[in-house]
Symmetry: C2
Subunit: 345 residues, 2 copies
């Protein structure tokens, strides 16, 4: 059950493969009569071009490598969806390369991209320190690179990221505006740039408001389960904080149940806010106000940038430094009963 090729069609019609190739792409050199005949036969035989052969000949594939730290249920599904929708319309296909949070695997994935001659690489880095080998491997590929979400500074590649500092800052400011006096925060892995930035925004918002920043109210959790632990010990303090900032969906889903279990009324006794992709906060109990970090949008923009780079070819050259696009978060208030109202009421 061999696939039908251009050769097969040519043979059956007693003509040359090149004629078939041209006919199928409506090259004017081929007469209309023959052209339609060829197309008819191609249809009958269910001819489909062999992309491998096309790639080889044209020295350019229509495959894009997607390297992400890990396939989790948070954030990445919507990013992938955004990327996929754009790339598909551009005629490109995605090859999935999760690094399982391993540096070694990340490098391997870059090599796989190279071996498959991808037209471009979309990249979110794993949480570990990155080596020179890493980056040189990336350079050698000669394909455009677009980073997103977890990026490394000072790399000459385009990037789409969310405003981490600003999001945390706005979130905490919002908590304070609703009357919170002592705010605790639960953060992700400390090594990550996004953690550091969000922590900085958190701190800044507190000190800017004349409140006291206390390191004892800052927690780090590498998973939802750790977040649950953190929230537990947080609420066990006396007094517990009256405002809580959760850095991500992964954090909020782990910690919210703990907070609820503590018995404190939310948001009357303890306000909770998080940064989220925009789905969970609607589903959780109680509903939580959040800063919308739109993964779909990140994916969409990253993919669009990628297509642009491929088309224009403007990603190469010594002087290309890359451009970082920052997405502004949007505050979505779901807990309408705010403490300031309580105070006034």
């Amino acid at each position: 059950m061999k696939r039908t090729t251009i050769k097969d069609i040519a043979q059956q019609l007693g003509i040359n493969p090149s004629t078939v190739s041209r006919a199928l792409k409506d090259h004017p050199d081929i007469g209309l009569a023959l052209r339609t005949e060829i197309k008819k036969l191609a249809d009958q035989l269910h001819y489909r071009p062999n992309h491998m052969a096309v790639y080889l000949r044209q020295q350019s594939s229509r495959l894009i490598g997607l390297i992400i730290p890990e396939v989790t249920m948070f954030f990445y599904p919507s990013v992938i969806k955004g990327i996929q929708n754009v790339l598909h319309d551009g005629g490109y296909n995605l090859i999935m390369l999760p690094s399982n949070e391993s540096l070694e695997r990340e490098i391997e994935n870059i090599h796989i991209c190279s071996e498959n001659d991808v037209a471009g690489i979309m990249l979110a880095f794993s949480r570990y320190r990155h080596t020179a080998e890493h980056l040189s491997a990336l350079e050698e590929i000669g394909a455009p690179v677009v980073m997103f979400d977890k990026i490394i500074d000072d790399l000459p590649y385009d990037a789409i990221v969310l405003e981490d500092f600003q999001s945390a800052y706005v979130a905490v400011k919002h908590l304070i505006s609703t009357g919170c006096k002592r705010i605790a925060g639960i953060f992700g892995n400390q090594e990550l740039r996004i953690t550091q930035l969000r922590l900085e925004g958190f701190r800044q918002a507190i000190t800017d408001s004349g409140l006291i920043y206390n390191e004892a109210d800052v927690y780090f959790a590498d998973s939802s389960f750790e977040a649950e632990q953190s929230a537990g010990s947080m609420m066990a303090k006396s007094p517990p904080p009256d405002g809580i900032f959760a850095m991500t969906d992964e954090i909020i889903i782990g910690s919210l149940p703990s907070i609820v279990r503590s018995g404190k009324k939310i948001p009357e006794e303890c306000s909770v806010i998080c940064i989220s992709d925009g789905f969970l906060p609607y589903c959780l109990y109680p509903k939580v106000t959040f800063l919308h970090h739109d993964g779909y949008e990140v994916g969409k923009l990253a993919a669009q940038r990628m297509l642009q780079l491929i088309e224009t070819g403007q990603f190469t050259g010594e002087n290309y430094k890359g451009e970082v696009t920052m997405l502004k978060p949007l505050l979505i208030e779901l807990d309408t009963t705010r403490k300031v109202e309580n105070v006034e009421g």
Copy 2:
């Protein structure tokens, strides 16, 4: 910045490309001295084989097409992880082809698989009725197909699925064993085979236990938000049910907040159980007992089956009918305060 090829190496050494090719794969025909010299140079030039060319020559790619209805945060991330881990170890790469729940796109995805000459297709169907065109496209490819999760009966392909009927049956039986007298269920899209099977298990468990099956206590929801609505109207009834079965993670995350909001004590006044991938039930408040439907395991098994089929080539021929593997669910009890204990206590 052209990639270095075998030709380049051959030229620099003044030898034939075939010699280089053989040397790089340790063919004994090539002398040890030359062999190591070639390898050294290949290393220096950062040679990486061009998979496209290899595929073309060998008439077999190491790409696997993954077609899923949609990239959601539920179930599929862990399935993908399972698939990916196995395939990677087997030296295969995944090309992601979400169908966005569109039949047309699903067919297109099959064609993309064909064009890219994939070594195999891993397939979860979209929710819509499937056409003959669909299936014939699949047949023509000449590559093994492994279905998972959302499958179609009577197709001559292997499949890995979860025991839908059984899971629902066991779940509901468990509710009843803890003392529930009137059990409601929230289900997904009615068109889906898994919905029908789980509904059937639900019904059967109720009637088998001598309780009354009431269609008014059965709800269908296409999303978490619809599930929230359903749970709302469910709890608004008087009396509300004292046991609730949620068909999936997507359903439970939408409905649980609604149930909690109703004010009923869980599980004392109203027990909740669901079928889940195994993550959410630990995170939600309150923790919910569930039947573990392990997406990771599904992915792993499906991928292993795929590798097997590729290796043995035993997927073709008129008489091959495919084999359906059923995964047994595991009951995980998280709400330790059970009603029967209350009754006794």
